[in-house]
Structure formats: structure tokens, C-alpha cells
């Protein structure tokens, strides 16, 4: 019997998700033995036209990591969608927008200004910028479009499952692959990690007092962080309460607070707003001035509360006027 075909693709991503696949270690041999990897740009050499030539639906499953920033990424995502039985959004960027989607707070214009003109290390006397079309010596060169907005994968194609994490843990990946191979799949649209908040598995939760009022926001560089105690109880913003479980607490174990890469639980529409709802209510201060003083300690609320979930946020990013600048 032919082995099921599997594609792995990366869009706007850092490569960490592909690294996570390699981190399956010896288990990857079982995976390779069980499946036929037909696309994995970061690790092996394949041609897109070979994929295009395949019959629709002939790939059992495509794991697509990274956010959608360019026309090329959208094109390949659409291609893989056509050719695949299942598409799994792999990692935070693909599921929620991830770090790349923080760019939704600014505009394409500003990004280009920074990248091609204003950055101190840029030397660009002719003010050249990437264009979708350029004529060089009579030849027309084409570049994919750089979108104004960073999308998550399900903004551009239909997605069957989501594997959250920056990156997803080897355990979650192995579980997902096993479930797919064995056909024991949850309902379509499911996020393949537990639908509870991180506190549920956090060892520090038992040190959390029943009154967690925060009178001063601290950052990990401000204090010597108690390695046993709940971060919130130390005044450090930990996204754990508003983030789903399943990461194995790698940050917490490294004495760093959760930054929210697994995104919200199913019952929440917006991770950042939910964290604001929770954190805001426990800040100290009975008048606006006192509260604003505590809030001053949160230097970058959008970056803190939407570090990974900007594309999945209700606002989606800065308003249109900013987007269209």
C-alpha cells in the first residue's frame, strides 16, 4: 500500500516550526517510515510544478506554518489546499498570525520606508523598492505582492486543524500525526491542544493566592524572579490564564512568564481583550490616576497581549487609515 503523502510548507515564519519537526528526533524516523514527504522546502529540494501536476486531493495532509504576508504564500497555500485532503495550520503564525502579524499595527508604506530607506544599515541611493513588476533589459520580472495585512492561514484557505505553539511541541506534533495516520480525528476546525488555560498544568498555580491584586507591574528585568511563585502574584504579566494549555510550560520552566503563543481557549474570541479583562480587573487603584500609574508599567499593551494573535484579533490590526497610509 502506498504511503500517505505529506507536505510541509513555510510561509511568513522564522523556521522554528520546521525545526520543531526535526526535534521529533528519532520519532521522525517513524514518521518518515510511515509517510511519503513530497514537499518540505526548508529540508529537501522539490519543485512546485511537481505539486501542481499532482491530482487534486492526492496529498493526505499539508502542514503549513507561518503567516500569509505575500502573494506567493497565498498562492502555495491555495495550491496545497487543492491538492490536500487535510490542511493543518502549523504553529502560532499560521493559526493566529504570530509575530509577523504584529506588523498589522503599522502600514506597508512604513515597513518599506524602514526596510529600504531609513534603516541605518541600508544603502539605497536610487531609492529602489520591490515592485510587483519591473522591466530589466526588456525582460519583465515579477515579484509576489507584499500584502498590506498579515493574514492567518484560514483567512486565505479553508483549514481543517490547528496545531498551536511557537513552535508546537514535539508531543503535540506526534499526537497530531498519529491521530491523522490512525484516522482518529476530532471534529473539523479543532485546535489540537487542550481547551483549558495554561494555569491548569502550571506547577506555580498552587502558589497563587486567592487575592491577586497587582499594585505595580514588573518586568523580568526589574526583579529577581522567584522560580517557584506564580508570575502574576509577583506582578509580572503572564499570559498563562488567557492562553491554552499544551506547551509543556517550557517558558515557565525557564523562569519566564507565558507570552501567549498557544492563543486563547475555544470560548474566547480575542486573547488580548480577554487578558485585558482579567488583568485590568485585578490592578490596584480606585481612581483613574492611581490605575493609570499602574498601567504605565505595561509599556506595550498590544505587543504584550497580542504577541501571537493579532491576525485572530477582533480588531485585526490598526484601522484602515493606518493600513492605507
Amino acid at each position: 500500500m502506498a504511503k500517505p503523502k505529506v507536505a510541509l510548507y513555510w510561509c511568513a515564519s522564522c523556521g522554528g516550526c520546521d525545526e520543531a519537526v526535526v526535534d521529533l528526533a528519532e520519532n521522525i524516523l517513524d514518521v518518515v517510515a510511515a509517510v511519503d514527504i513530497i514537499l518540505w522546502p526548508i529540508a529537501m529540494d522539490f519543485k512546485y510544478k511537481d505539486i501542481e501536476a499532482m491530482e487534486d486531493g492526492s496529498i493526505a495532509v499539508s502542514f503549513i506554518n507561518g503567516a500569509i504576508r505575500t502573494g506567493e504564500q497565498k498562492h502555495i497555500a491555495e495550491l496545497l489546499r487543492r491538492k490536500s485532503g487535510l490542511v493543518v495550520a502549523f504553529g502560532s503564525c499560521s493559526s493566529l498570525g504570530g509575530i509577523p502579524a504584529l506588523a498589522n499595527l503599522t502600514s506597508r508604506r512604513k515597513i518599506f520606508d524602514r526596510s529600504y530607506h531609513n534603516s541605518p544599515t541600508v544603502v539605497n541611493p536610487e531609492n529602489i523598492e520591490p515592485k510587483m513588476k519591473a522591466s530589466v533589459d526588456g525582460h519583465v520580472l515579477k515579484l509576489p505582492e507584499f500584502f498590506k495585512t498579515v493574514y492567518k492561514l484560514n483567512d486565505v484557505i479553508d483549514v481543517d486543524y490547528y496545531l498551536p505553539g511557537c513552535p508546537p511541541t514535539p508531543e503535540l506534533i506526534a499526537n497530531a500525526v498519529t491521530a491523522i495516520l490512525e484516522g482518529k480525528l476530532p471534529p473539523k476546525g479543532a485546535i489540537l491542544s487542550p481547551d483549558k488555560s495554561l494555569c491548569t498544568s502550571c506547577d506555580r498555580n498552587e502558589t497563587k493566592p486567592e487575592d491577586v491584586t497587582i499594585s505595580k507591574i514588573k518586568r523580568v528585568i526589574d526583579i529577581e524572579v522567584d522560580p517557584e511563585k506564580c508570575f502574576l502574584a509577583q506582578g509580572i504579566i503572564c499570559m498563562g490564564p488567557a492562553t491554552r494549555d499544551g506547551c509543556g510550560q517550557s517558558c515557565i520552566n525557564g523562569n519566564m512568564p507565558c507570552t501567549g503563543c498557544f492563543g486563547p481557549t475555544d470560548s474566547c474570541r480575542d486573547q488580548g481583550a480577554k487578558m485585558i479583562a482579567t488583568l485590568g480587573a485585578i490592578l490596584e487603584g480606585d481612581d483613574e490616576n492611581a490605575v493609570d500609574k499602574v498601567i504605565e508599567g505595561i509599556v506595550d499593551p498590544a505587543g504584550t497581549f497580542y504577541r501571537y494573535a493579532m491576525s485572530a484579533s477582533l480588531l485585526g490590526g490598526a484601522r484602515k487609515e493606518v493600513e492605507n497610509e
Partner: protein, 143 residues
């Protein structure tokens, strides 16, 4: 601005502000039809998700109206609301959204004139700010 009519959603607490709005009605105090109310039991129930959801669905301004500090029917829900929305406002400025589009204020059950004033001022403020074009605006969710 032309024919632009702002859309303003006001989340009002049942005990003070909703009653204040009712009293504005009894006294026939006209105010802008742009302001429409959603009754909550307490301003402490107002989840910032609701505010963002309202923006996403096309609201140009959102108000959260509760009991005056010290008068909360549920002790301190209004203070929790104030803390949340001051934080939310700070965050929204990073999204290019003018802080004046979210207003948190206190209106007692008897303050009909104040309700009228706050509602009209908000309508005027938001009208001057113009329509909020949101990246995440999803027309299909408005129905």
C-alpha cells in the same frame, strides 16, 4: 462628513445608568438616535471583547456607563470596568484608534440630564472623529 451618522453602542448598567436613561425618557430629554443601549447587570460585566466586537461590527464609538464610584450596586464592578477600559484605551491607541471612541462614565439613576449630555457629547465627538474603518470589520457578522 456628509450624511455620515455615527454608530454608538452604550453598555449600561441596569441599576444606575439604564435607569438614568429611562429617566431621560420620562423627562422627554431628546438625544441623538446614534446612541443605542445594551443593558447589562453591571458595568463590571462588560468584557473588553464586547467593545472590540462592537467596533468590529461597525460601531464608531462605544460607551460603558455605570454607577458612580462608591455607588456600585455590586460593590465595585464599576471600578473594575474603569481599570479595564483605561488599559484597553491605552492599547487601542496602538491600533490607531482614538481614545475618545471609548468612553467610560458614571451616570446615576436620577441623572437624566447628565445622561442626555453624555450621550449627545459622545455622538458629537464620534461624528467629528468620523467613521472608524477597521481592518477586522466583518460585515457578515452584523445581522
Amino acid at each position: 462628513m456628509g450624511n455620515y451618522e455615527p454608530k454608538i453602542v452604550a453598555f449600561v448598567c441596569n441599576w444606575c445608568s439604564y435607569a438614568g436613561a429611562d429617566k431621560a425618557g420620562m423627562l422627554k430629554l431628546n438625544y441623538s438616535t446614534d446612541v443605542k443601549l445594551i443593558r447589562m447587570m453591571c458595568s463590571g460585566r462588560v468584557d473588553p471583547q464586547f467593545v472590540l466586537d462592537a467596533f468590529r461590527k461597525g460601531a464608531d464609538g462605544v460607551m460603558i456607563l455605570g454607577c458612580h464610584p462608591g455607588d456600585c450596586h455590586y460593590r465595585s464592578g464599576n471600578l473594575k470596568a474603569m481599570r479595564r477600559f483605561n488599559l484597553l484605551k491605552k492599547m487601542m491607541s496602538q491600533f490607531g484608534i482614538d481614545g475618545r471612541r471609548v468612553k467610560i462614565d458614571w451616570i446615576a439613576a436620577g441623572e437624566a440630564e447628565r445622561f442626555q449630555k453624555v450621550a449627545n457629547e459622545m455622538a458629537e465627538t464620534v461624528e467629528n472623529l468620523g467613521q472608524l474603518h477597521l481592518r477586522g470589520y466583518v460585515e457578515s457578522e452584523v445581522q
